[in-house]
Assembly symmetry: C2
């Protein structure tokens, strides 16, 4: 089995069909596993804190895998750095406890969702924001975010197509932060929402953000948030686009 | 002749062979002129504050041109926004005095040059920094920059291939600023140099930056800066790579 290893991966998701290996698609997991296999001389299967969808970015995705080859981890990291395209970087690799598992050992995750109200799409922001053509009441966004903090059944914000034992999750914090997550220093009218919680359902961050923006631009009534918070049905509203979403960090 | 127009253009230079129209190459000037011609129904020739080389970016390039077509400027801007790829954005278009000329009316320019000392290339920074594998003495950089401020003959920092009447220029300010010009909020070990002056010779910012970094990493003696400052010969040292350079703004 070799040694259990923990790593941190950072990627620009623009050119990938998401994290998870899929036949015929260029995914982040696939390109890393391919290079690791070349270094190890044998297949390596990696686990991640969670999948990210096509176009979603990561500042700090966490992975784990078993390393049996006789190549020190620092050399593995440097080899990966040379072999991978610049869009993906494995930043840290270190020995972990035998029972560490990137998916199951995670206790909290932070996501950020970036929004631009700038009139023109910015060449340096375009891949990393949802550019909204509306004026957004940011104070209203703050008020709505305060209502999702705590333990809730988020079934009504989960897109169909997932199977989980429970749809109850706890949001520890949900805040508005000025400025982009990735972008130019002079970006104006750009801000992001930072969500931290013990877990997130399929498309939950994009669905929450879609509903919050729909309310804050005056398209939906404020009551829509509470209605969806208690709904047993899968989400049927607007999902914020993938490109504005970043997996920021994972706590263990 | 129509009306003289001033515009501000922002571009990610990664996919372009620089600003200036060249046969067979995709340049920023060419793509904008092509779209303007479609809107005007006639050729439009634009002037810029200056050329930028292949791979160099602009937060605020300034252009001027004559607009004779019966299409209001706000509609021109919106049409350009729809027609241009996201890497280029014409942000403002407004009437200017008949004698305004983007090249000749400029009185000062600000460039920024971004450097990363991070061990790993960052997927969100790679297109916008020079990643140096050395530790840089930033205090030494500050000291060197203070010596180029003022009026100097910069012939020794001009790459050959340019013809100008005088190689004397005045640098108004040259400072180290923490953080990237374009990049992720969590970028560490990344900083940039902001140069403001009344004009810059061909490759002067990249040549100055190359020399300063070569000194600050201990590869060249400190005296090399003064020697090159007074040299009558074209620059023969290292040029910092294009991708770290941004034309930030132009004053008129």
């Amino acid at each position: 089995m070799g040694q259990r290893v923990k790593g941190v991966v950072r990627y620009d998701g623009t050119g990938f069909a998401g994290w998870q290996v899929q036949p015929g698609a260029r995914t982040v997991q696939a390109v890393i596993e391919e290079k690791l296999a070349l270094i190890a001389g044998a297949p390596v299967r990696i686990a991640a804190s969670g999948r990210t969808d096509s176009g979603v970015h990561a500042l700090g995705q966490v992975i784990s895998f078993d390393w049996a080859a006789d190549v020190p981890l620092e050399r593995v990291r440097r080899s990966l750095s040379q072999m991978l395209s610049p869009e993906v970087r494995v930043e840290r690799l270190k020995p972990a406890a035998d029972d560490f598992h990137a998916t199951y050992s995670a206790v909290a995750k932070t996501y950020a969702y970036c929004i631009s109200e700038a009139r023109d799409a910015d060449p340096f922001l375009d891949r990393y924001v949802w550019s909204v053509p509306w004026e957004i009441d940011r104070e209203l966004v703050r008020g709505l975010l305060s209502r999702i903090v705590g333990e809730h059944d988020f079934a009504g914000f989960c897109s169909s197509g997932s199977s989980v034992e429970t749809t109850v999750r706890t949001i520890h914090a949900a805040e508005v932060v000025d400025g982009p997550v990735v972008g130019p220093v002079d970006a104006v009218d750009t801000w992001h929402i930072r969500y931290t919680g013990n877990g997130f359902l399929y498309k939950m961050v994009r669905n929450l953000t879609g509903t919050i923006i729909d309310i804050a631009r005056g398209h939906l009534a404020e009551s829509a948030l509470d209605e969806r918070l208690n709904a047993p049905m899968p989400y049927a509203g607007f999902s914020a686009p993938a490109k504005g979403l970043f997996l920021v960090e994972v706590q263990y």
